[in-house]
Symmetry: C5
Subunit: 361 residues, 5 copies
Amino acid sequence: MAKRHARKRSEKAGMSPGSAIAVGKRQLSDKTWISTTRYNVDKIEELTDVPLDQIGPDVPPTENLWINVDGVHDPELVQRIGQKFNLHALSIEDIVNTQIRPKQEDYGSYLVVMLRMILRTDKKAKGAKCFSTEHVAIILGQNWVITFQEQHSADVFEPIRTRLRGAMGKIRSCGADYLAYAIIDAIVDGYFEVLEELGEELEELESQVTNPESSPMLTEIHSTRNFGLFLRRYVWPVRDVLAGIERNESPLIQKSTRIFLRDVYDHAIEIMEMLEAYREMASGLMDLHLSAMSNRMNSVMMVLTTVTTIFMPLTFIAGVYGMNFTFMPELKWHYGYPSILLVMLSISLGMLVFFRRRRWI
Amino acid sequence: MAKRHARKRSEKAGMSPGSAIAVGKRQLSDKTWISTTRYNVDKIEELTDVPLDQIGPDVPPTENLWINVDGVHDPELVQRIGQKFNLHALSIEDIVNTQIRPKQEDYGSYLVVMLRMILRTDKKAKGAKCFSTEHVAIILGQNWVITFQEQHSADVFEPIRTRLRGAMGKIRSCGADYLAYAIIDAIVDGYFEVLEELGEELEELESQVTNPESSPMLTEIHSTRNFGLFLRRYVWPVRDVLAGIERNESPLIQKSTRIFLRDVYDHAIEIMEMLEAYREMASGLMDLHLSAMSNRMNSVMMVLTTVTTIFMPLTFIAGVYGMNFTFMPELKWHYGYPSILLVMLSISLGMLVFFRRRRWI
Amino acid sequence: MAKRHARKRSEKAGMSPGSAIAVGKRQLSDKTWISTTRYNVDKIEELTDVPLDQIGPDVPPTENLWINVDGVHDPELVQRIGQKFNLHALSIEDIVNTQIRPKQEDYGSYLVVMLRMILRTDKKAKGAKCFSTEHVAIILGQNWVITFQEQHSADVFEPIRTRLRGAMGKIRSCGADYLAYAIIDAIVDGYFEVLEELGEELEELESQVTNPESSPMLTEIHSTRNFGLFLRRYVWPVRDVLAGIERNESPLIQKSTRIFLRDVYDHAIEIMEMLEAYREMASGLMDLHLSAMSNRMNSVMMVLTTVTTIFMPLTFIAGVYGMNFTFMPELKWHYGYPSILLVMLSISLGMLVFFRRRRWI
Amino acid sequence: MAKRHARKRSEKAGMSPGSAIAVGKRQLSDKTWISTTRYNVDKIEELTDVPLDQIGPDVPPTENLWINVDGVHDPELVQRIGQKFNLHALSIEDIVNTQIRPKQEDYGSYLVVMLRMILRTDKKAKGAKCFSTEHVAIILGQNWVITFQEQHSADVFEPIRTRLRGAMGKIRSCGADYLAYAIIDAIVDGYFEVLEELGEELEELESQVTNPESSPMLTEIHSTRNFGLFLRRYVWPVRDVLAGIERNESPLIQKSTRIFLRDVYDHAIEIMEMLEAYREMASGLMDLHLSAMSNRMNSVMMVLTTVTTIFMPLTFIAGVYGMNFTFMPELKWHYGYPSILLVMLSISLGMLVFFRRRRWI
Amino acid sequence: MAKRHARKRSEKAGMSPGSAIAVGKRQLSDKTWISTTRYNVDKIEELTDVPLDQIGPDVPPTENLWINVDGVHDPELVQRIGQKFNLHALSIEDIVNTQIRPKQEDYGSYLVVMLRMILRTDKKAKGAKCFSTEHVAIILGQNWVITFQEQHSADVFEPIRTRLRGAMGKIRSCGADYLAYAIIDAIVDGYFEVLEELGEELEELESQVTNPESSPMLTEIHSTRNFGLFLRRYVWPVRDVLAGIERNESPLIQKSTRIFLRDVYDHAIEIMEMLEAYREMASGLMDLHLSAMSNRMNSVMMVLTTVTTIFMPLTFIAGVYGMNFTFMPELKWHYGYPSILLVMLSISLGMLVFFRRRRWI
């Protein structure tokens, strides 16, 4: 997964900075969906599939505008949006680079926050496979917010839209900075779900490992660990991003919103700690698995040794009385056969007692 | 255990911040118990099961008020208390989120401290199983303290109540900040008991591992390690919480109380170091266990090899004289049988000497 | 690889600082190639194989000069260039030391940046072997940049030259500091390619390790890990170098260029994180491999134990009835032979059932 | 060892801060020994077994007073001393808590330093067992020093007393801060001896592990490692304590004494580094031991395989000619027996050559 | 090696600080060699075996004096030198303590730098054994430098003397601070040689480990690792020492010299990184070795299992037809013997095919 990123990146090596080459897997022919939400305390107006030339930063100061762009595979279109809103070339380069590391940057007249949204794609399936990640760029201006999503699919913003429509909480009465906070919060809260799934997978693996019946699942532990590693790539920088926004003295963010950003920051810390704990659990699981296998090997060896040690002497005795020497007095003795059987029986019983004492059987 | 937390959390994803949805396992029908303690140097008045409308921040400046709320599963009730004391929406969200990470926040007119109380539930039982953890939120105002507990069960505050009643120490003559300190101190001191138990479990496991008689207890080492991991989740942030309170220049905390907070901080450091030491001990134990198992395997292999090496040649010799060739002069020889038995005896004795020299037997 | 460095270094021990002894593998007889690019917004003039006496820092303020020197094996020549541009003795020592650790230094009138360029030498081959590294020293003056390369071979600067020639982007309209940025950016972006290759190798190794058919490739995992270690040596310091340049308040770097340097810094962070992730993957792979081998050993042991446990008792029974006692009633019995075969059959079937239940076969 | 600490601590949970409950293992009936040393450049006066009411902080400014208290098990007595010298309740709590973590605190009119003294109890015995640790509290006032020791036994202060009596060095001409430094220095220097012993134990274990003759000593490595862990608990905080004293701008410590404290600080760093190095050595030893055991297992397996591989085919051949088929032409052949012996001999020789080539024997 | 240090140190425990007791292995009777070099731009005067009373800090400001003292085993002599140059008692204690950790200290009128010189003792031998380390104390005053060496043997300063004599570089025209820099640089550069050797040893060990022919060399890997650990003890503090000197605002060091000190600092960083890389290589080697041994064990087990699995059934069949039942129809059958041989052959062929498919043989 991490590899795919790198491969795309190197295609850009040596190019002019700010050259908006889309680093992603979608074709240019795919449509880009633009939707806008314009609201203030009193009213809300939602438009979907808005043509490019109808959007712009000319919002009256009493209103807030949220533009959501689904699809950044067409660099030219993003560049044209960028020009309308006066975005720096590097911002546009970052928006279309769908593999970018989460980061935030203050360009004076606007703030850029790049995050990675984690989405459950299959509501019924279990495990890490049913999650997909998507690059989201959030641009916060004076009284507008633009969100660029990698794909026109489900997102984690539906509850925000519901709150906007229903004027729930204070979202309608606050500025664009509060909207940006709400978006960031929704993305970060979305991490909890995938972490839960990871935690459940780990617990299931743990119960499998400690259960002697179930067969060893080494590659599953490994892949769960790798999934945690992959998540970490996108989750770790989030803390720095949020700390950066919080410390940022940009006038775009009001003081009353900062306390909410501090709350998201706390969530990010919590997520990081959960991830670290899961990582330790996964590595403990690996140890446990190796040790369980070593245990099993021990018991196999004990069976082998027990069987060999009991039957080798018996077979030897049988071999001795199978020799064809002319003069072997025991062979002629009438009770030779039963006595030798008795000897054999007592040897094997002795062995069994010995092994029982050593707790091998 | 950590998993349960995550699962609950994701249910809140995307919701309006400050939406007080109880993240816990109790039903709404459970009763919430409110008790108040109003005291100053001269007098003390304790009330239990106080109705909601009789509490409020209107305490005369010469008195201190401690309100203890057992049960935060009814968000509406908590919200009403919060409104009475003018608490921020985020504070209320944190109070009802019983899975929150320990933290402290300064809201100007009041301080919030979230900790996790560790309680011994079964006085007689041993081991980590007999401990339960409970979320405690401490709100420190001008001359009042509110504590929210997750459940109406035992708590670690009994000694504080005794000191209040008996006017022991300076608790009655100090302000609400000293009471808050006493509460935090009681919670932190409660960690020592569970750490002791953890230490004792580790020592017992160690004596089991080094004892060759006792059977390997891998899963127990693992679960003890995991319990340490779980504790760490709640204990580690306590240091930052206390450092934050200490550094905090809030006028709510008097200078004379800060030296006591510094003392609790030292305890938190001590607890963290004990936890780290136990963690290293647990991982050393894992190594020791693996190595003991490897040792055991070695000795099993030596038995196997010794037995095989002694009896294989003997059986072969017996096999040779069991062959049915017509012309085998030894078979006719009168002393053939005893001589071959002698040969066999000397071979096995030689082998035994060889293995004794190699210290295998 | 790391070793070669050290060996060369020790030859300089105790020498006068600034003594420009070339630490490299090329002979003095090799030619040094000097090429110059002189440009401003309006025009560009490229010269190759320029004689030493035609270069100098006397560029009109409206123009920028880029001097590229291929080959630093002739210390005298580098020293003469250094004298022309007034470079400090230590700068010259660093330029000719091709094994130096990436670093940056501000000498007031000029900045020195030492990096390591990673180049793909064989476009078709796969794996780490097809990459070579080369020492590059970048000297940024008022309106000139000098780049010293270790060898006269391919470099990663071709796209920059194309942009200069084609006046693409803003490179022609910006100052020498922007050119220096473009050069650093090209070198850092070049790391992505080798990281991709490393990632692909790791994935291939992972699929081999988890495939029970393929034979273990321990030394390959080891060498991939060592390659990552080797890369780290040159990649880690890049972050500090870039942070140093960014923090540097030198008037040689304009404010508009700093935002681009910040972007390269972000790339360096990304590269470091990829490298760390690969390192963890490699060590996880090692664990996986060891565990797969342990698994295989387990199954081998189970086959051995199964075979031994089934045939040992059978052979013993056959041995018993091969004994030559005169009085063995079973031998005379007409159904003795078939009955004993039946007994043997049931023993082996019983064993098979037993092993099947234990999931050994 | 660490456990014992915790168990005692929890008994204090919830108690009033500053409640001087002795956390130790001595009985109240044990006597507390107080001795005083009053000195200046000209004279010295030593008293032992001084009654409590004869001590106090009323020393003329031209003299220094050192009060040494052996035994802190009687909290009341300590409290009375504390009241005489105006000590804070928390200081007294720390003095009687013999399990406290090393720390220093500045109470304005006096400084408190808590350290752990390590003492060799048995001069002749070897190993970690012959060391005991003791809690020491050092209180530095204007011109007096009080030292509280856990027990009335040997201490590491004898050389200081000798220097005081003999007026060696500058100890008599310096103030109480120099005396406090001398005491701290003596305690810290005492750590070197136990570290030596630890180092020697590690070297002995190393020679045992690499010696194939000696039997594996896993539990000894483990216990040595644990002892290092235990030491670390008391040694690590010493660095912070000393750094704290050094940074401390208390007028109680003169500038000329600070340079000596800096020297002790360097010793503490050195001790920490030695401890870390020993820890790495111990963990390297564990690896070495495991690997040596794995080596031994390998050689056992090779013996087993060699013996089995040689004798299995021979026994099979003997078995074949032991079959009772009526028509087996070889059996009748006169040279059958010697030829088959020859075949067996050549098979076993061939096997031996094969194993010799594989370097198994 | 580390142990030896500790043992000597503890002998000083409790002694008066500044008591110049030589911590080393040389006898008092050994001679101490003093040599002086007095130079300025115009002239140089070298004297060897100078009597003690002819040296002193009274050098004319236009000249620099370098005093080199070989042998610090006679504390009295060092103390007399110290008194002449007004050195602090602690400085003298540090000079004669040949086991001290590298450090630097600013005593106002002079600077002290303690380093450890690593010297190749046997030019032809290979490996870590041919290096010895020696304590060097460098005292930098106004226009004099004193170097104290542990022994009168070879040192790494010969190139500096040559440069002084030949007036090479700027050493003669610079002040005493430049001389001190040159001495520090020579010592630090000397570390490269021992690191090379370490690197070469590691590479050789690596080729041995990956070569299946060569026998395992576990103790060698271990001792190489320990040697790296030992080096680290003396190399790590060097970074702090140099950073300390650089940050130091002492007027004894001119600004022009600081840039050179910065260069030595870079070397120290480089050395530290090499050491860390070697350490990781050594631990990777240990893993590789363990894994190679595990591999070898696997192949031994496969041989054993193959042989056992093939011959056990054959031997059993032979045993069956060796039974002495009266009624065994096959025995009478004319083609019984050849048919049974055929059966045996096909069984063994089948087994071989099976093992070939499992890639065991």
